[in-house]
Symmetry: C2
Subunit: 378 residues, 2 copies
């Protein structure tokens, strides 16, 4: 029996403290006890997201959160700019089109992020109501400069909707300081929870837009969530156990401090890249995200052989590539409940797996390089 | 420290076996292990719902499931009949209107269920694409005769969408034999799970309707769930821990046998009614649901005093009334993980609470009457 560890970019491993909290007896959500807990959870997540904006909680996946934002906050008489640099960018284009919005999809080469000057040019040349971008695009392990993009958008009447599903609590994200109108995230990434919750922070500027729109849906109608939030409540039945887990997870994050968490995540990403490069594996992406790293498989090593060996022999699950990266890369998460020991161990396991796949490497090279990169850990 | 028991009509208490399963380490959802589990869970729920129809699983509350059905399955060129006999009926009218559907809302007196002959008259006199009804209306603790309604609808081109959120695994429900096209249910009622999952069974007749409609949404687009289901998968990240809990809960239900579960639920409902009536408390509703019982508070007893005493002194949480029943009734659930011991104890606690609230009752009257009604338990 070997210990199983998830290095997949969501779901990620959940701390036993959180799992234990979720295993406690149920209680009812229409109670003062729930409202008190819900208020604490919201405040803790505001601290993590560095925002004083309304913080909404939806029972659903991250997709539900992003769809709610796009369906409810994009003015119907204006265009919406959507950055499409990977699978999730593609999805938000699809969502926007599903609601009949006038979508200007900016197709980006995989491994590159949306550039602020492109946004500035677009917004100067047309009547846009919103910009939708993916802060950390998981399919390509690529980040964009959200701060720079926010600066451009904040100077206009448009609102910025950011998919921070794999960036919140992983990459630097100063919601209010940068002026990100809607931050959407999900439970099962750096927030150290099982899947099932989407979170949205919504600025006054975004609410002003939302208030002009008749929501085309009910379950994802943000106005209903705002109304309930005023009473520290949810419009539909809240996933009590997940919110209970969230209380524990968010307290764990805030005890460390969000800026330290960002630093640690970056450390693990650097160690992983250094370790793999020392083993001759190249990193994909021109703007790598510290949430998740994509690494090319060596010539002649199949994805199946590599990932099966890594999982079956060493208990390490990593993700494969998608679409154009399918069978070409593996993707390793650095989010949430993962530490230097795990990361160093993974590099050791990757090294042995390469040998098992017939690649010549000197055992010890990878962990040595990774260990060096971890010197900055604090 | 007194033991806390939920008699609220959702969430209900969750068996420790289920909570324990959910507290096990996370694993990734894009794996064969997940797909195997998901297939087992789907088959187990088909057995519970007595259906061979496609069984879809959505991360969201029961409202998300019903909204998905109404948004995706009601033909746009026809009317939709919606039964409105309580808070949930009201909600489905609202959902249907939100999507711009041509809604014929049948307003029912609270405490009565939709009648099959009303449906027959309506369908004969207009061009209806769908009928939406609530099998067990939780706000009024009232059931309708779903079998009779299904018989009427099945003889027409319309489809039947049933809100079985508090009836599935509680009231007799023979989906295929009766011909219910869409059964929508949720995790946190008789299915003995925390909130967070909506389930839908979808007949071929319903799929034929769905296939003619361009889904106006993405997250709740049933076609995406069908496509993924063919691979025992979900289109968006699945709540792994909840589905893991579902496997244990559904196996517990099927080990008893669904018909026995219905019988047991009815037994508990009868015992509760008998116990309360013996204490001079009248039951609300002309067609009481066995999922949940609404009982009038005695003259002069306030909802707050009664429910606070019941919870603080005896650890029993029951729900209050809503809207026109506010402060007038309490609502007691008989769904899921509740047994004769709990029910008998609750009647005893109600009895003592009445005394604490200044009502004259002979101690022992309630439990004695309830115990008699439990003779049929098996």
């Amino acid at each position: 029996m070997i210990k199983q560890r998830l290095f997949t970019p969501g779901p990620t491993d959940v701390p036993p403290e959180v799992l234990n909290a979720m295993a406690q007896p149920m209680f009812h959500h229409r109670t003062q006890r729930f409202r008190d807990m819900f208020a604490r959870v919201g405040a803790a997540l505001q601290e993590i997201l560095m925002t004083g904006n309304d913080l909404l909680t939806i029972a659903g996946s991250g997709t539900a959160g992003m769809e709610a934002a796009i369906a409810c906050a994009v003015p119907r008489d204006k265009k919406v700019l959507v950055a499409d640099g990977g699978k999730f960018g593609e999805r938000w284009v699809k969502v926007a089109k599903r609601y009949g919005l006038d979508v200007d999809a900016v197709k980006l080469e995989w491994g590159t992020g949306l550039q602020a000057d492109v946004v500035a040019d677009k917004l100067a040349g047309g009547d846009y109501g919103a910009v939708v971008t993916v802060h950390s695009e998981t399919s390509t392990a690529t980040a964009c400069d959200l701060q720079a993009i926010a600066k451009v958008v904040a100077a206009t009447d448009a609102i910025l909707i950011a998919d921070c599903i794999t960036s919140a609590a992983a990459l630097p994200l100063r919601t209010d300081e940068w002026g990100v109108d809607i931050v959407a995230t999900g439970s099962q990434k750096a927030l150290m929870l099982p899947p099932g919750l989407a979170f949205l922070s919504v600025s006054d500027k975004a609410w002003a837009a939302i208030d002009t729109i008749d929501a085309p849906c009910l379950y994802l109608d943000l106005k209903a969530y705002r109304k309930s939030l005023a009473k520290n409540d949810t419009p539909y039945t809240a996933p009590v156990s997940l919110i209970r887990g969230a209380e524990v997870a968010f307290d764990m994050i805030n005890a460390v401090g969000i800026e330290t968490v960002w630093h640690r995540t970056a450390c693990l990403a650097q160690a992983t890249r250094a370790g793999c490069e020392a083993l001759g594996m190249a990193v994909f992406s021109s703007q790598p995200s510290d949430s998740v790293t994509a690494i090319y498989l060596p010539e002649g090593v199949t994805d199946k052989q590599f990932r099966d060996t890594l999982r079956n022999r060493y208990g390490c699950s990593v993700a494969g590539g998608q679409d154009e990266l399918k069978d070409k890369v593996i993707r390793v998460s650095h989010m949430g409940y993962v530490d230097p020991i795990d990361t160093l161990g993974l590099i050791g396991a990757i090294e042995h797996t390469l040998v098992a796949c017939g690649v010549t490497v000197e055992i010890g090279t990878g962990p040595a390089a990774a260990a060096k990169a971890l010197a900055d850990w604090r």
